[in-house]
Every structure is written in C-alpha cells, then in structure tokens.
Amino acid sequence: MAEIKRGVQVVFIMPDSALDIKTIRKLSPSAVIFGFGRDFVTQGGGDVSFVASRNRVKLVLSENYFRRTSPKLSAKIANLKSVVEIIKNRSTRSSNE
C-alpha cells in the first residue's frame, strides 16, 4: 500500500486481488489499471482489460485512456478493429457497434 501511495504508473489487478479499482485510484490516481474481462472496464471503471473472444486475445479500452497525458496510448491502436474494443465514457457502447 505504501508503495502505491508513493506513485506507480501501471497496476495489474489479478482476479483474486484483495484490492479493487476504486482503492487503487484513490491511492494512485495517475496509474493505468489493467485487469481481466469486459466488465472490468465497462462496469468496474478499469482502464484496460483483456478478454478471450473468438479464439483470440482482445483488448477492451476505456475511451478515457486516450485522454490521459501520461502514460498515454497511441490512437493507432484503435485502428485494429478486430483486436480492440473502445468503451465510451464507461458505458457499454463500443466503437465497433
């Protein structure tokens, strides 16, 4: 906990983690939070999640992620329609719909 308070850039939350997204945001507001499953972004407020779909690994990204100043993600990633789903404003609408 103390380490997080000092500031981290990336946090990867495992499915069995004792900490949740809100806690980490509070401790380190600038960290990018990774996790698993679509709900991690659409419901939980995470930044990036990995999902297994159609025999491939895909990314679910929060649109907010592109508005960050640091760390920042290239907008080119959004071109990979087959791989990336972008969630707008933490709603369930995706850019591919």
Binding site: V48, F50, R54, V57, V83
Partner: protein, 769 residues
C-alpha cells in the same frame, strides 16, 4: 505506452502465471511493484522454460501479429510449436538477412534434414531427408498461400516464386509427412512461406545484394494505408545472374535475368472478418544446355547391343564399307553440329575411356502470373474459417529440350476449425484444383534425322520424333480433397491428433491418407512426441505421360558398298509409365525436444520411411520406361540446437543422418550426413559478426554413361553486419572461403557436367520498414 499493452497482451495470451510476468515486465520498466496484494518473488514463477522462451519471442511482436495468434489451435504447426508432435523448423526474415542469404531457398541450407545444393548461377536445389532425387523434390511447397509444386515436373521453382525478404513473415519447415492436414505430395515434408499483412509493411524498404562476379539482386517494397482498416503494398525485384564456370573450366553460359512484381491489399471488412488479395508476375530468361554426347548409337540388327557412335569419325573419315559408316545423305540438317564436338568427356565403359562432347544450348524462359484472395473470420462460437482462391498462369519453354507448356491453374479451398468442449478442436476443409495444360514439343535441328524407324513397332516414320513427347490426351486434371482432424487435449501434458485426408484426382484416383500424432509434455522442459502418417505423392506429368526419345540408332539394314543408302536411323523411346500409381509412404517418427533453460533448445528426431512404388528415374538405356516404380526404405534423424550462449552470442547447429535403400541397394543421391553450425556475435549495438559452417557427405549423380561423384565438402562463410541506424543494415559476406571452388549438383541427363560453386563475396544493403 504500447510496450505495456503488448506485454500484458502476451501474458494473457500465454495464460502465464501472473506473478512472474508482472515482475518481469515491471522490473524491465523500472517500476518497482506490481500489485496483487502480496510481495512478488520471481523465484516462485511457475513458467516452464519453454514458456519463458515463448514469452521472449511473442513480446517482440507488434499488436497486429499478436492479434493473429490463436489461444487454442489446431494441432498444426503455427503455434506453440514446441508442443507439436512433429519436427518443425521456423526461419524468420532476420535469419535470412543476418547470414547474407540472397533468397529464401539459400536460407534452407541451415535447416537440419535439408540439403541445399547449387547447380548453375540461378538455381539452388532443395531436398529434404531422402529419395528426393533431383527434379522431383517430393515435398510440398506453399508460398504466399498457394501451392507452388508444379504438376508437370513435380517440383517447385523457388527462385521464381520467391518473395522479397521484407514481406516474408516466416518460413515453416515441417520435416516428415503432414498428410492429414497438408495432403498429397507432402511425402518428405512441407515448406510453407507465409507473407506479412500489408499493414505490417508500411513505408519503403529496399534490399540490394551485389556479388563480386556481378550477380545482382534488388528489391523495392512500398506500403501504404488506404483507410483506417485497409492497407496495400507493391513491390518489384530485379535479379541479374552473372555467368559462371563449369567444373572443366568451360563457360557455364548461365547468365540471365529474373524480374518480378507483386502486390497485396488487406482490409478488415468487419470485426473478425478479414480479406486480402495478392498477386504477382515473374519473367525469367536464361540459357540451358542439353547433353548430346551419348545420343547416337550403332546397332547391327536393332536387337544387338548398342555401340556408342562417335560421330566425329563418321562421314568422309570412314569408307562406305566400314561397319560404322553412316550414309551422309541420312545426316540431319544440322550436320555442322555433329561435325564440331566441343572436346571430349569421360566415358568409362569404352576402351578409349572418353567420347566426343556434343552439347547444345537453348533458351529457357519462364513467364508466370498469379492472383490469390482470402477471406477469413471467426464466429462467436469460435468457429474459425477461411476461404482461399488462387489462379495461376504459367508459360515455361525449355528451349534446350524443345518442350513448352502453358498452364492455367485454379485452386479453391475452404478450411475451418472449432472447439468441441474443453478437450477437442476439430479442423476440416475441402479443396478443389483444376489444371489445364497446353503442351508443345519442337524437334531440334541437330536431332532431325528425317525418316526414323520406331524400335517398338519396327515401322518407319517419315520424320524424327521430338526429344520429349507429351500424350496430348492428358491436359485437363481435376483434384478434389477433404480432410478431417481432431486435436485432443487429454491433459495439460498430453495432446493427441488423429485425422485423415481424402483425395480424388484424375491422376491417381481415390486415396486416403490417415495420420496420428501425440506429444507428452513431461515436465515443462522436456517434450516427447511420436507420429505415424500414411502419405501419397502423385507422379508428375513428366513421369507419367511424357515419352523420352533421347537416342538415335544407326542401323545399316543391308547397306553395302554399292548401296550405302539402305541404312536407316531408328529411335529408342522411353515411355512415361501410365501404370505408375501413386507413391505411398508409411512413416514412423519419434522425437524429443528439451529446453533445460530458456536459452538452450535441443531437438532430436528420428524417422523410418517405408515407400511403396517410389518413382525413380531410370538410368540405363536398357530400361523400358523413363521412370520406374520401386519399393524403398529409408531411415535417419536430425539433431538441432539453438543456444543463446550470452546476451551477445547465439549458436545454432544441426546434424542429419539419412540412409536409404532401393530394393535392398543402398543409394547415395542424398548425402548421408549433413551438418551445420551458425554463430552470430553482437560485437556492439551496431556491429554483428556471423560465421557459418556447412558440411555435406559425398553424393552420386546417376548418368547413363558417366555417373558423377560429388565429393564431400565443407563450406565456411563469414560476415559482418553494420547497423548504422535502426532501419538500415549493411553487410559484407565471404562465402565458400575454404577453397576456390567445389561442385554440388547438376541435372542428370541434361547437363554435361556440374558447375563450380566458387568462393564469392557479397555486399548487402537493406533498409527495413
């Protein structure tokens, strides 16, 4: 930020243990901690050594490439290759440029179990394991999504079908038959060259290779983006071959050129629905020789043994009552040809030990074009499918033989796979191929002897037959294939695959090619595998439907001093054998793959092949057919290592033993032992030194009059590659440095002698994308 995503993407892809990966990644970025509520200890990692090595490989990929990697795949050859129950070798484009190979065929030289030999300046011959012969290579070649093994000769021309290195994604070499997926002609194995998505070749790339003798190859590739989800690339290649030298010191007359163009367009039509269309064209102009030295014979009564007729002593040099006198009025139009031998060559069976050398050069042209398109997609239920169509138009003229064929070929294929439960993944597919041919034979002037007796029918024809005669009734061929395979995960350690391919084709009828393979991941660092396959190879059209008329026999037929014109020329024909059925092979393979640590890989594989009706070229003038079907057996194995000795030093090596018998007689048309050792040392961030050693045992090239032994040879290559910037690579290479020259191979029955493979120096310039 992209490296972050790629890393986690890989981690998830591999379903690796999160503690290790998080630590690995975060430490590499200088971030002190990942977070799962506990302090992380790397030593607790449960990653196996194979997985660690896989992680290193995947993490170098970009997002697009990663997105194409299946989570769970068919037990094929494209993913988690270390678990595959087959002997697989993968060549990456950086391996090709690092060692100064001009093209992809040359890069096969470092693959254990493969024998690459060089004939003339424009061709490298690739053979795999055993009984590959010369023209019939007996493995399946796929390049850029299409099958390139030609029906006429049963071989592929990798020089013509080659691609610029900048667009090559990888070359997969599967040793041994992979019949249940790949199907017919994958008798000794499969070579599958996969090209990159157009989105991965954006910008400009140039590669130039200049050899000290003047041989030159230049590629230019340009890629661009049409819209946010569609990309294209176009490319051109020019290759100029300088003239080489034959073993005797004579000029090889093998200079010429190859010019190629190509394109590819990729588009994501929707999420998980992709499309690409690609095409290309090639034009090659060369000369090739035909050996006429042992074409003329004398026979007293057409059934007596044939005596080589040394034509240089004929005509006015002999009196008309001499038994070997040939009536000048029966000489071919091109009399001057037969009056001007080019010296002499060895003829061991004659008392004189030599015979006059007659050879004729003719233009060999190759013009071809193709277009390939592919749709692929995945449904919500993980049903993964693709539909591929390809059309190819080829015009090959072997002017030295007077033989030309034009071919139109259409391929359609549907492939799919889907999981059933947690343990099964079933793959299946259907394919159709249609081939239309136009074959034309031309009588060469030196072989135009006018009226000729057919020795089989003893009838007199008004004209001489052509050297190669194709049965014109066989110009349309259809092939229908289907396959079904189930990959079964019994546990995390044991995988089995069982399947079969069905085939119906106009050449060999109906056939079934079953296969079963399994692998056991014993402890994460040792994988054992075994397999059985039944594979077929269909005879080439040349083997089956072409009659070879290589000899003319002078028969005095009662000619006397007063009546010298009574003599006639007769023809000795070797028919193609329509009774040649498909070549069948039962193959048994076993292998061990071990990775004691992530930097060291050792693979050992062994095989036993039992071939029925293996098609082999006849080499005796007493043979009835040009090709004969014989039973054969072969066994052998390969040992290969890949060792990252230190951060800067990588060693790769291999040893192969291949021994074969045809009807009990040991054969040496393939080197029994080959070995290679390749080293690359990064002297600094911008300078790399490479060293290569290649060894091949002695081989024997059959001939109807002068079998040639190719001595064993050791080749040493050295090179230095300078990277002045991230995208530029400049290399200087010395090849075959141990000796001024050696010989490696030749076309039996066509070439008079092998060409020299000379010591050479290459300068390469490569601007990557």
């Amino acid at each position: 930020m992209l490296p972050f995503l790629i890393f986690y993407f890989v981690r998830f892809l591999l379903r690796l243990h999160i503690c290790f990966v998080s630590l690995f990644f975060l430490l590499s970025l200088g971030v002190p901690y990942s977070l799962n509520g506990e302090q992380i200890d790397a030593n607790k990692s449960e990653l196996t050594t194979f997985e660690k090595a896989e992680l290193k490989k995947l993490i170098k990929l970009d997002f697009r490439s990663l997105s194409l990697v299946s989570i769970q795949g068919v037990l094929g050859y494209d993913q988690e290759y270390w678990r595959n129950p087959a002997s697989v070798h993968v060549i990456r484009p950086e391996d090709i440029t690092l060692f100064g190979y001009a093209n992809t065929v040359e890069a096969l030289r470092g693959v254990p179990g493969m024998h690459v030999s060089r004939g003339l300046s424009y061709d490298n011959f690739a053979a795999m394991r055993n009984f590959s012969g010369f023209s019939p290579q007996k493995f399946l070649g796929k390049i850029g999504g299409r099958e390139v093994t030609q029906l006429m000769l049963g071989s592929a021309n990798y020089s013509v079908d080659d691609y610029p290195i900048a667009v090559v994604d990888r070359i997969e070499i599967v040793r041994g038959p992979g019949a249940s997926i790949w199907g017919t002609n994958a008798v000794n194995g499969v070579i599958n060259l996969v090209t990159k998505h157009a989105g991965d070749t954006q910008g400009d790339s140039i590669r130039m290779v200049l050899q000290d003798n003047g041989t030159f190859m230049g590629d230019f590739v340009h890629g661009g983006q049409v819209s946010e989800d569609s990309f294209y690339r176009v490319w051109v290649r020019n290759q100029e071959y300088a003239e080489g030298t034959l073993d005797s010191g004579n000029s090889a007359r093998d200079d010429g050129y190859l010019r190629k163009v190509g394109f590819r367009y990729d588009k994501e039509l929707a999420s998980d629905l992709n499309f690409y269309i690609a095409g290309g064209g090639a034009s090659r102009r060369l000369e090739h020789v035909l050996d006429f030295s042992n074409r003329l014979f004398y026979s007293e009564n057409l059934t007596s043994p044939l005596v080589p007729l040394n034509y240089a002593r004929q005509g006015s040099l002999l009196p008309s009552f001499h038994p070997l006198f040939v009536d000048p009025s029966k000489l071919p139009t091109a009399t001057s040809f037969w009056s001007s031998p080019n010296g002499s060559i060895p003829y061991p069976s004659l008392l004189t030990g030599e015979i006059s050398r007659f050879e004729r050069y003719g233009e060999m042209t190759n013009d071809s074009g193709h277009i390939v398109s592919k749709f692929d997609g995945i449904t919500e239920s993980d049903f993964e499918w693709s539909f591929t169509s390809a059309f190819e138009k080829t015009d090959i003229n072997m002017g030295h033989l007077g033989f030309e064929w034009k071919q139109n070929q259409l391929d359609l294929a549907f492939d799919a796979n889907r999981p059933f439960g947690n343990t099964h993944r079933v793959s299946f597919g259907v394919g159709f191929r249609r081939t239309d041919l136009k074959v034309k034979s031309t009588l060469l002037d030196p072989f135009n002897f006018g009226p000729t007796v057919d020795l089989d029918t003893l009838s007199l024809s008004s004209s001489s037959p052509t050297i190669l005669q194709y049965g014109q009734g066989f110009t349309e061929f259809n092939r229908l294939t289907a396959y079904l395979q189930d990959s079964i995960n019994f546990s995390d350690e044991i995988i089995f695959s069982i399947g079969t391919k069905f085939e119906e084709n106009d050449l060999t009828g109906t056939g079934i090619q079953p296969g079963i393979r399994g692998s056991w991941n014993a402890n994460g660092s040792n994988v054992f595998w075994l397999g059985y396959s039944k594979a077929h190879r269909q005879p080439s059209l040349r083997e089956r439907y072409t009659t070879l008329n290589p000899a003319r026999i002078w028969y005095p037929a009662g000619a006397t001093l007063l009546n010298p014109s009574a003599g006639v020329w007769a023809n000795k024909a070797f028919a193609g054998d329509e009774s040649l059925d498909r070549e069948e092979i039962d193959s048994y393979e076993i292998g061990w793959r071990t990775r004691p640590n992530e930097d060291f890989l050792l693979e050992l594989s062994s095989y036993y092949y039992d071939s029925k009706d293996a098609v082999l070229a006849a080499t005796s003038l007493s043979s009835v057919n040009a090709y004969e079907a014989k039973d054969a057996k072969s066994f052998g194995g390969e040992l290969s290592i890949d060792w990252q000795v230190s951060v800067a030093w990588r060693l790769r090596g291999g040893y192969s033993l291949a021994r074969g018998e045809v009807e009990g007689e040991r054969k040496y048309d393939f080197p029994e032992q080959t070995a290679s050792l390749q080293s690359s040392i990064d002297y600094s961030d911008s300078l790399t030194f490479v060293q290569s050693l290649f060894y091949a045992d002695e081989t024997q090239i059959p001939s109807d009059y002068n079998p040639i032994t190719i001595p064993s040879h050791l080749r040493v290559d050295l090179g230095a590659i300078w990277h002045p910037s991230a995208n530029w690579e400049i290399g200087l290479f010395g090849r075959d440095l141990l000796e001024p020259y050696h010989v490696e191979t030749m076309f039996p029955g066509v070439d008079v002698e092998p060409a020299r493979v000379e010591r050479s120096f290459l300068l390469t310039l490569y601007k990557k994308f």
